[in-house]
């Protein structure tokens, strides 16, 4: 055939075929999407520190293991209260002339998704210790350590943020461990990662492929695994052995709050966080952030009261429910 023996015609055809398809499935949809999508009106503006922190995040290739997208499938509910929508990414533009837009959606979830990590893990102290060496707080973690974002100092200067890392992780170095600006900026960025609620009245996209609901009504509380909920929500600070980390996170083993009778305080701490003791870091509002139900909180409490040598008596879901309604009123606005 003449066409096949003429290199100009042949290669021109192949090129335009490919370029045409490219236009249809890539260029036009991309142009269209960057035009029609607008950021959510109530989206928070990133602080300067957080913006710098994002650069640190990009430079160290964190996206290799951490996604930032809550897919509209039921299994992704863990990572956010609603599926991510186009508007969530609409405000992200080119980083600068040299570097492309960083939506940081990612394609690998070797580590947890970070879309809503600002709500899930808002503790600065935890984040700093975790950055210095993740295994200091999460024994099984395989995340790289970032010790070069910290320095040791003999004398604290004004504004130095001291990081309380247990001694065995310091490698025998002397002095106080202080976070360098990039560590603080990176943590500021992580703290800024919060899902913006959709404006009132706009339809929330659904999570697809729903898990089969366990037969509820009453039996649910019994089937809930307190240990698993503890692992998912509490263990990163208070540790699997309930002993916490000295200087950073208080122990639950033998804790008067856990084993005592003041259930109201206990529920309040889980729901709204705690900052009463200077020697430990601030506890975030874990219960509220993770939307824990009364049944789940009951399961956690009963797990904590009966583990690591604790042996306080079981609490009932009804009591917890009552107290939750009570302390929600007291929650800091």
């Amino acid at each position: 055939m003449e066409f096949f023996n003429n290199h100009i015609k042949l290669f021109r055809t192949a090129f335009f075929f490919f370029a045409g398809l490219t236009l249809l499935v890539a260029i036009l949809p991309a142009l269209n999407n960057q035009q029609i999508n607008k950021p959510l009106p109530n989206a928070a503006v990133m602080s300067e520190d957080a913006t710098r922190g994002k650069q640190v995040f990009i430079a160290n290739g964190c996206v290799a293991c951490h996604t930032q997208q809550v897919r509209n499938v039921d299994m992704d509910k863990t990572w956010g209260s609603r599926p991510s929508v186009a508007a969530d990414y609409a405000a992200i533009t080119r980083t600068d002339t040299w570097r492309n837009t960083a939506t940081l959606m990612g394609t690998e979830r070797t580590g947890p998704d970070l879309t809503d990590v600002g709500n899930r893990q808002p503790s600065i102290d935890w984040n700093l210790v975790h950055l210095f060496n993740p295994r200091a707080v999460v024994k099984e973690s395989i995340m790289p350590a970032y010790p070069w974002m910290f320095r040791f100092t003999k004398e604290l200067a004004k504004g130095d943020v001291v990081v309380n890392v247990p001694k065995e992780w310091l490698g025998g170095k002397e002095g106080k461990l202080v976070a360098k600006p990039e560590a603080l900026q990176l943590v500021a960025y992580l703290q800024s990662l919060k899902q913006t609620p959709l404006p009132d009245g706009s339809p929330t996209p659904e999570f697809l492929y729903k898990r089969k609901q366990e037969t509820a009504n009453g039996t649910a509380a019994k089937t809930l695994d307190g240990a698993a909920i503890y692992t998912a929500n509490c263990q990163s600070c208070h540790q699997a052995n309930g002993e916490g980390l000295p200087g950073a996170f208080p122990p639950l083993k033998g804790s008067p709050v856990v084993t005592g009778d003041n259930l109201e305080l206990y529920v309040n701490i889980i729901l709204n966080g705690y900052d009463a003791r200077a020697e430990y870091g601030v506890m975030p509002a874990v219960g509220t952030n993770a939307n824990l139900t009364a049944a789940e909180i009951t399961a956690i409490i009963n797990h904590e009261r009966s583990s690591w040598g604790n042996s306080a008596k079981e609490v009932s879901e009804a009591d917890v429910k009552k107290l939750m309604d009570l302390v929600k009123l007291k929650a800091p606005k």
């Binding site: 290669f11 398809l21 949809p29 992200i92 099984e140 350590a145």
Partner: protein
Amino acid sequence: MLKRGMYTRVKAMLVAACFFPLWAHAQQGGSVGKPGTALLFVLLAVLVAVLLAAFFLSVSVSNLVEKRRGRTAGSQKQQLQDYLTNFNSQQLRKLLHIAGEKRKGGQKRVTGLVILFLGTLHSNPLLAQAADTKTNLFSETGIIITITLILVPILAAIGIMIVKLSAMLRRQRNREELDEAEQLAAYLATLTDEQALQELAKRKEALDYQLTHTELSGQQMSADNKGLISNVNTRSSLPFVSPKKRALKRPNIDPQLSRLILWYMGCAAFWLLFGTTIGEYLGIKFVSPDADHISWLSFGRLRPVHTNAVFWGWASLGMLGLGYYIVPMVSNTPLASIKKGWYALWLINAAVVLGTICLMAGINNGGGEYREYIWPVMLLFGLGLVLTLINFLQTIARRKTKEIYISNWYMVSAIMFALTITAVAYIPTWQNGLGETIIQGYYMHQGVGMWFMLFTLGIVYYMLPQQLNQPIYSYSLGILAFWTQILFYTLIGTHHFVFSSIPWWLQTVAIVGSMGMVIPVVAGTTNFIMTFKGAWHKVAGSYTLPFFLVGIIFYCTGSLQGTAEAFRSTNLIWHFTDFTVAHSHLTMYGIICFFLWAGMYAVLPRLTGREAPQVTVGAHFWLALIGLLFYTIPLMIGSTLRGQMWIEGKPFIETVVHMAPYWLWRAIGGSLMWLSHIFFAWNFYKMISKPETADIKELALQQLEVQTEATIH
């Protein structure tokens, strides 16, 4: 009577063989209660196996019976005579000898034959043992283990029973044959007739006739006047590995071009070693995350160093090197410009060096996979491709053949498409918000499919027929695969973002396109496999063809796996897990690398006249293949389980702990792959370096020349 009794016994055993498992089933069925479907399958399979065995035995028995009946009915004499006509020369010699002895008067008895058959059959104790199997199946737990424990002795008993029964039948058959032999001997003893013996002697003479082997050639000595036989190895020793066919000495190609190609491949080999050393280290970091605490070597920075070095350094330069060989070759004309080839090599190498340094220093493009080099760096790569494209097109325009061989379609298009996607992805003025994601999906998958895959297919369309020494099976299939690859592959990029916030219709288009990819993949695979038709025997004798074969197998399986991964249902389980990593290694390594190695082992000896030691080529092949399987299979299993744990809502950290053993396997597989690259580098060195031991013939000629020169002057 004895025989009759035995048949009855065999039949009884057969009946037992049929019913015993049924009885066993009844036992299990009653106690297990509701076994899972898998269990039912196993039991069904056992039943089928037993029935098959029973059928086989009953057929053997009836054959035996049939034979016996036929013998008693048919004319026995005729059969004995048939035996006689079928005697061979040696047997005839013996017979005649015996007959001669007999005629001399010596009455010698034909050796008596002993029947060894014992008649009685050992009872099968194992059968009884199996029946005794104490099975406490009433507990709910450990059902599978219990069933297995029951099945093992039952199956063993059945096996042994079958062996015993067939041995019995064999003995019976032997016995009948001995009977027959006895009769034949008796018949032969009666042969004393002079005329008959002469007949036999004549027959023997006829059988003994042999050609002199000089009927066709005559008495003259043969001579190899056309030089058809060469390189005969007269000093061979017992080989350590099976020796493969050596590369044929080809007419020399332009030494300038040869040098250029060698440099392309040498740089490629360097980037392979460099890139996979990084990859190996990254694999180790999964197992030992505190291996180092240096910012330049942290995981997030090194990962793109690995992927980009093996993409743009190793695979791209390797492909282009082979391209510089193939394009002028199939165009039957010299390369348009060797200079441009050198510039392109410099530019691409510079891109990879600069890109690597940037990434390690923390300067990257923002996290899109394979798009981590910033645009000024990628611009160098792009310029290298532009020069190559011009060079190849000019060469093809000056071709001395009428047609454009299909290899050139694939390779030139691959360069055009790679330039297109690079331009689309890197023009630094657009892609805000989701625009970036859509382009990212397009870019990363076109990079793989339209650059690496398309170019490599072009290489295969030339190198495979060349190595098999027969034409490609179907040119039309190649053309079909070419156009359908463009049509479907271009669509599938966004299947990396299924369930993300990019438009649903775009995700669906990508999934449909992924299904369409079955067409070019099946067309290509069929074409390559059918090219082997009638030449399969060459695989065992070649050290390049196994590389091609592995590449073809992974081309089919790896690409179809990609289709399977694209569906929404499979995305639920596999997306975000290491399954993707396993898949990309199955394809980029299993397909692209194996094809490139195949091509290099084929081309390099043609350029330098030197071959790699076959032992180390074999070591390279097997380590790479086994390493790849160790790397990918555990990773696929582990990540499937991890996906399921995510669906079940297990705490995330549990799924990290779950992956640990699979990551260890990945590191082990990766180490084997890395070791194979050391062998490859060594082989490459051997193919380009001067041989250590001088060619004795060459040396002798040189000395002679020197001597003659001395005598003349």
